[in-house]
Every structure is written in C-alpha cells, then in structure tokens.
C-alpha cells in the first residue's frame, strides 16, 4: 500500500458524503446501494463513519461528470480513465468524480460502480495506488462479484496505518495475493487447458504456459466473470475441449471464454449421492476417457462416454493411489497424475500404480 504524498488524512472520524447527481444507466436505488456498500468497505475496518447528507456541502461529494468538468483532469470518454478522486482536504478534497460516459452497472457487465467507487474512496481517505495486483488500490479495473468482495489485506493494512484499527472486537482480515514462489502456497484446484496449466487460489489463478518461464497471475473473473472464486475442483475434458469447474454442490462447464448456458448444475446429475456436498479434486484420464473425482478419503470414477459413474465406486483413495492423504487438487500430464495435498505434490504413475516422486507444490513455477 502507498500513502498519498504528504500523508493527508481527515482529522475527524465521522465523515459526511453526498451524491450530487445520478447516472441514468442505473436505478437510483442501485447507485445509493453501491455508494453505501463502497463506504462500508472502509468503515468496516477503521473507526471511520460516513453519514449521508442532502443539500449541503459534505466531506466527500460524489458526482458523475463529462469530459472537461473544470478540475484540470478532463475525462476521456468510454473506457480509459473511469473515475478519479481527490485526497482528504477542504473543498474538492475527498470528492469522487465518475466518468458519465462509462457503462456503469451493478453486475459484471460494463464497469461495476461499487468496485470503482470503493477504489476511489481509498483516494478520498488518503491512500495512493498500490502495486499489489490483488489490492483494491491497484490502478487497473478488475471485476469481482460484489457479493464475494473482501477488502484485501494490503488495503486493510494501508487504511489502518492512517486511521487505526476498527472498533470491532475481532479485527477483520482480508485475502492475500498469492505469490508463485511462496513455499507455503497451496491450491484450491488445478486443471490443464489446451496445453496450459491453471492453478486456482481464491479469486486468483496462476497460469503456466509450458513454453514460458514466468507464471501469470490474474483474476478468475478476468477470463470467466460468471465463475465463483474458491473453485474446489476442476478438470479438462480434452475430447470435448471443455473444462468442468466445481464448487460446493454445483458445477459449471466452460468452453474457451464461455461458461455454457444452463450452468451451474447440481453435481448429483453426474451420479453423486446426496451425501456428497462438495468435490475436492478431479482429473480426467485422456487415454481411458474416465474422470476421477476425489471426495474426502474416497473417489468415484465417471465414464465420460457413458456419462455415468462406473459401478463399484466410491473406493478408498489409499487402496488405489497410496498414502497421498486428502486430495486438494489433481491433474494429469504426460501420462502421470499429480496429486496436491497442502504444500506437498505426489507424482503418481497409473501404469505402475504407485507414487514415483514427491515434490513441493510450487515445483511447476521455476522458483
């Protein structure tokens, strides 16, 4: 996180805000809700409070503006610069200006007003841009489902360094941006996809192209805005050029950038009993066309051609795969299956039916 040069801050904790005008692209109530929610992002983690006022000057004046709006920072039309805000202070200090020519929405289309407002309010309170790619105060826009939004730890640390901690008994914490070579890095799920590997963690994915040394960190929502964060299992069906994504008792089918219509569907359509509430990991054996699903200490085998679970399952993981414990994530590559359990990775040879190697979870990232 970075403070605004000169460390400007509000001298009071009880601040006021006013919405000067509304964009015609959203319902007024949705704009009010986006503003309220964006302010609560910061009030939830500090002693700050925000009171809405009408018909008088407020500390934070929020408005939608066109091109040159007489503050030496003209807007540039659709895309490009979405909004800006001023550091704490009298007059224009703390004010937020939003470019009226942007496609403001309350969902994943266009630009989500809540996300942009929450970022700009960080400036209104004295924060500058952070170079943590997962921080809310990172300069470029990225969509996150507002219902899943959690203020990242980098931003919490920054704003609390200015205004102190929240008055709540339990201090709020936030997600930390994963780093490829963090020895403690674990994964929610992993899948191959057209020769690449995607490691899912929270709302992030680490993408590894076999031909490139570096690993690319991005948000899952960048590719698939309709997918949830915290994906619990994923596998690629090379035959159909699809990946299947699992979270809790639902699954999605994705082809390229598209989540196929009609999804998510209940996992029970695949033949799981109702006692199964979530899938921990999955991989597809390209040669046999069978998909292996790992749930707690058992696994199922699904026949992709017959579109049904094979008889005789579930079986115990330990009886067929050895002592790999609970499986967090799995994928198959070049005939071997790679199982991830915490920070440990097992390379399993399905022909020899045994573990042939044990590695660190980050072994794919050239650390």
């Amino acid at each position: 996180y970075v403070f605004t040069p000169g460390n400007p801050k509000w001298k009071r904790n009880d601040l006021t805000y006013r919405i000067l005008n509304y964009t015609p692209k959203m319902r007024r109530a949705d704009v009010d809700e986006a503003v309220r929610k964006a302010l609560s992002v910061w009030s939830n983690v500090t002693p700050l409070t925000f009171q809405k006022v009408q018909d008088k000057e407020a500390d934070i004046m929020i408005s939608f503006a066109y091109r040159d709006h007489r503050d030496n920072s003209p807007f540039d039309g659709p895309n490009g610069q979405l909004a800006h805000a001023f550091q704490p202070g009298e007059g224009i200090g703390g004010d937020v200006h939003l470019d009226e020519e942007e496609a403001w929405t309350k969902g994943e289309r266009g630009y989500n007003l809540f996300i942009v407002l929450a970022h700009e309010l960080g400036h209104s309170l004295g924060l500058s841009h952070s170079n943590d790619p997962g921080a809310l105060m990172y300069p470029t826009y990225s969509y996150t489902d507002p219902n899943e939004f959690l203020l990242p730890q980098d931003d919490i640390d920054g704003i609390q360094a200015i205004y102190g901690q929240s008055n709540a008994a339990v201090q709020p914490t936030g997600p930390i941006t994963p780093e490829a070579c963090d020895p403690n890095l674990t994964f929610d799920s992993i899948t191959t996809l057209r020769g690449e590997m995607f490691f899912f963690k929270g709302r992030y994915m680490l993408r590894k192209h076999p031909g490139r040394t570096e690993t690319e960190l991005s948000f899952i929502s960048l590719f698939w805005p309709r997918l949830p964060s915290g994906i619990q299992a994923a596998y690629e069906n090379v035959e159909t050029d699809e990946i299947l994504i699992f979270k809790e008792d639902k699954y999605w089918v994705v082809r390229g950038y598209d989540v196929l219509p009609g999804y998510p569907k209940p996992i029970y359509r695949l033949g799981f009993p109702k006692t199964v509430k979530r899938v921990n990991a999955a991989y597809n054996d390209e040669t046999t066309g069978k998909t292996y699903f790992f749930v707690a200490d058992r696994y199922w085998r699904y026949d992709e051609k017959e579109k049904s679970m094979d008889r005789g399952y579930p079986r115990k993981i330990v009886s067929d795969f050895g002592n790999i414990g609970r499986v967090d994530a799995a994928f198959q590559k070049d005939g071997y299956v790679y199982f991830f359990h915490g920070t440990t990775q097992f390379q399993f040879d399905p022909r020899a039916k045994r573990i042939v190697r044990r590695m660190k979870s980050t072994s794919w990232f050239n650390c």
Binding site: N79, Q81, H84, A85, E120, S128, H129, N131
Partner: protein, 82 residues
C-alpha cells in the same frame, strides 16, 4: 503519400505511451522534441518506472505486455506524485 500501416501503428503506439505516461507518471511534455540531449530519454525513464510499478519486465520499450497494461481501463489518479 499514404503512411505504411506499420508506421501508422508506431505513431499510435507512441501517442498512447506518451499520453499514458503524461497522465499517470508525470512525464513532462517535451518542448524541444527535435533536440537530442545526452541523458536518458525521459520517456524511456518513465516507461521503466511504469513497468517496475506493474511488475512488468523493465525494458524501457513499449513491448506487448506493457501496451496491454496501458490499454486496461483504470483509475484517473496518477500512480506517482505529480
């Protein structure tokens, strides 16, 4: 005489880079672009600063990754103190 597409692209690229660095990295408009000074080109220096901020490879050149970041929708507040 029609400008060759590549040259036209280069023009647009330079325009994008200059505008981005002026907006967010305090690149001063160069009053004497035709004069060459001995020190590093200010644009290159600012480009390196931007690449470092975004965790890109610091090449000082407007490579593809850098241009991709510059085209992303973003906040209008500068990344460095003006």
């Amino acid at each position: 005489f029609p400008v060759a597409p590549e040259a036209e692209d280069e023009g647009k690229t330079l325009e994008l880079v200059e505008s981005y660095l002026q907006s967010f990295y305090d690149l001063q408009k160069d009053p004497h672009p035709h004069l060459r000074s001995g020190s590093e080109n200010p644009l290159t220096a600012k480009l390196k600063e931007m690449q470092s901020f975004f965790g890109l490879q610091v090449t000082g050149k407007p490579d593809l990754d850098t241009l991709e970041v510059m085209k992303k929708p973003r906040c209008g507040v500068p990344d460095v103190e003006r």
